[in-house]
């Protein structure tokens, strides 16, 4: 496994991470736990998640997989999902996450889904989520903090300009991105200039449609993302097969040369230009309903995540473990 420095934090993390959302897509709980164990055995330390994924199911799965002495082998992250609501609600969400993880602290806590024009202002508002960051750090419940979002580089830049000392910034990074509302061109240099750690995600374009269309191959996409100046690349891993495939790429990893990267960007440019291979940037259907709801935006009940959210049972093999937080109070 390759390890890299996490910005200016002094911590090191594995060059690929396990994405939390896809843990909820693994067929059985046993396979999900096995996936986490194998990943740790292979040297992966970075584990992503969010309070709102599958109504908390993915945090609970990860918590189960990490008990029995594995918690201290990983760099554990989750995201807080206030979406503009109060710091007090954020602290309640943190308690939920810690309980599901069966741990007393997170290594990294990030604001989930900075995807709307007013999200930066809401995050920075008095009584907002950033005050919860300060408090959680002071109480020793989180070591480092950051934010995430998949929509538009403008919002990321606004978050940075407003000046909070984030440790990490998570964003979509792939060769389509470099041609369309580009995080790579606009945000990545700024994050590195500030000594923060960049966390890459959506290395396959979120839905892998560019791969299915035959424009690019999975391996070169992952290699491209890993060749950028990032601390880690978070990979949606929903089966042991995918885990093994990603590990193979890491084991033989050599960073792409500048000219290889340029050639790949150029290959992607013509199909990147309408954004369909990065649907999270253009389509309303890739905004999590839990993100839309606090903003008062209507949502589409044919969308998978909406079904998930409305499905209180959360799957036959796992009873929801936590009492829902009363939002907005």
């Amino acid at each position: 496994m390759i390890y890299r420095k996490l910005g200016s934090t002094g911590a090191q993390v594995s060059a690929i991470g396990i994405g939390g959302h896809h843990l909820g897509d693994v067929t059985t709980l046993d396979e999900a736990i096995q996936l986490v164990h194998e990943a740790i055995d292979a040297g992966i330390t970075f584990f992503d998640n969010a309070w709102e994924y599958y109504n908390g199911k993915t945090e609970t799965i990860l918590g189960r997989a990490l008990r029995d002495g594995r918690r201290d082998k990983v760099f554990l992250m989750t995201k807080v999902c206030t979406h503009g609501r109060s710091g007090k609600l954020a602290m309640q969400m943190l308690e939920d996450s810690l309980r599901r993880y069966q741990t007393d602290h997170l290594d990294l806590w990030q604001i989930h889904g900075i995807v709307y024009d007013n999200d930066p202002e809401l995050a920075y508002a008095k009584g907002g989520v950033l005050e919860a960051f300060d408090q959680a750090k002071k109480e020793g419940k989180v070591r480092f903090v950051g934010f995430t979002g998949h929509k538009d580089p403008t919002f990321h830049l606004k978050m940075l300009e407003l000046g909070y000392p984030f440790d990490t910034v998570q964003m979509p990074l792939n060769p389509f991105d470099s041609n369309f509302h580009s995080f790579e061109r606009q945000v990545l240099p700024e994050v590195n200039r500030r000594g923060m750690a960049a966390l890459g995600m959506k290395s396959m374009g979120g839905t892998a449609w560019g791969i299915k269309a035959g424009v690019v191959q999975a391996e070169e996409m992952l290699r491209y993302a890993m060749s950028l100046p990032v601390a880690t690349t978070i990979c949606g891993t929903d089966s042991l097969h995918v885990l093994h495939q990603n590990l193979r790429v890491v084991h033989s990893f050599q960073p792409m040369t500048q000219s290889e990267m340029e050639a790949l960007r150029a290959r992607c440019a013509p199909t990147a230009a309408d954004g369909r291979f990065e649907p999270y940037k253009v389509s309303l259907r890739y905004d999590n309903p839990m993100t839309r709801m606090p903003h008062g935006f209507p949502f589409d009940d044919t969308q998978r995540e909406v079904t998930e959210m409305l499905d209180q049972a959360s799957g036959p093999w796992l009873v929801p473990e936590t009492t829902p937080v009363t939002p907005g109070r």
């Binding site: 202002e121 508002a125 230009a273 309408d274 369909r276 259907r285 008062g296």
Partner: protein, 363 residues
Amino acid sequence: MAEQERQNQQGEAIPELDRRSFMQEGMASAGAVIATSALRRQIAVAAVPSQMTNKGADQISRRVLGKTGEQVSIIGLGGYHLGTVHSRDMAVRLVQEAVDAGVTFFDNAWEYNDHRSEEWMGLGLQGRRERVFLMSKVCTHGRDKNVAMQQLEESLKRLGTDHLDLWQIHEVIYENDPELHFAKGGVVEALDQAKKQGKVRFVGFTGHKSPVIHLKMLAHDYPFDTVQMPLNCFDATYRSFEQQVLPELQRRGIAVLGMKSLGGDGQPILYGVVRAEEALRYAMSLPVASTICGIDSLDVLRQNVRIAHGFKPMSPQEMQALRDRCRSSSGDGHLELFKTTKKYDGKVGREQHGYPPPEQLPI
């Protein structure tokens, strides 16, 4: 407004707005004060009305078209919707009545409705051509200038004229469009050639997708006379043309043509966010030369003419209040589906780019 009427007949399409009240309280108290003041600072630049020749309470006022020396009516007749009218005779009557009411700005595009839009407008303008400022758009979507010149001849023939007052590059909406249009032998060379031949007087470009792409076009410093773009009270918080492109056009003295004043499909009116009249008045109060309106019936025409008669621009305070009112519901772009979906992207353009049609995309 045509859409508004149509949508109103489909009551079941109204989304459940009750959800909106759910969970909003905490958020409003946390952010509203900072949010509003920050937005106000960003927008103040844009709210300067441009010169208007007020022609009295029963006349449609005109405004100067950038640096061209021309004047055009403050509302324009959109070509796309003309081709969706149920009969040719009705379309002809609509054009004639619009001209007689004092509408001078006529919009169209080579590709609208399999050319029906241009043909019907041509018929309606017989004997009235000299009373209007006639525009059409060229639809190369990346192809070369010969295609453009061929399309120009076809547009002239269908519109029944020997020249266009304005010829614009249609639908600059893909990230690589500016590069394709300015390529050697591309459509921009056709603009030069057509001007030289006297077949078009002025030139510009249009697009409904992203301010970034408009700015890329402007960065080439070509002397465009006009730029057309979506302008409405929902635009300010999502990939905003008003904030990002409008000031740049004013700085360059290029005429601004507004479109999609009702959000493209009238949905915001259906949602109850705004009324049609205030949405149109907002768009017309911006520093634009004309606001192009989708008009597909005499009712809609008469309604818009009524709004235009004796039009007084909204005050900056009224405009700000309207933006503030729209803000909470428009920040994700769902009231401007031309920006957030592919369903407004024309078939010819997608084909030329090698993109699948919107109905094949799950986005």
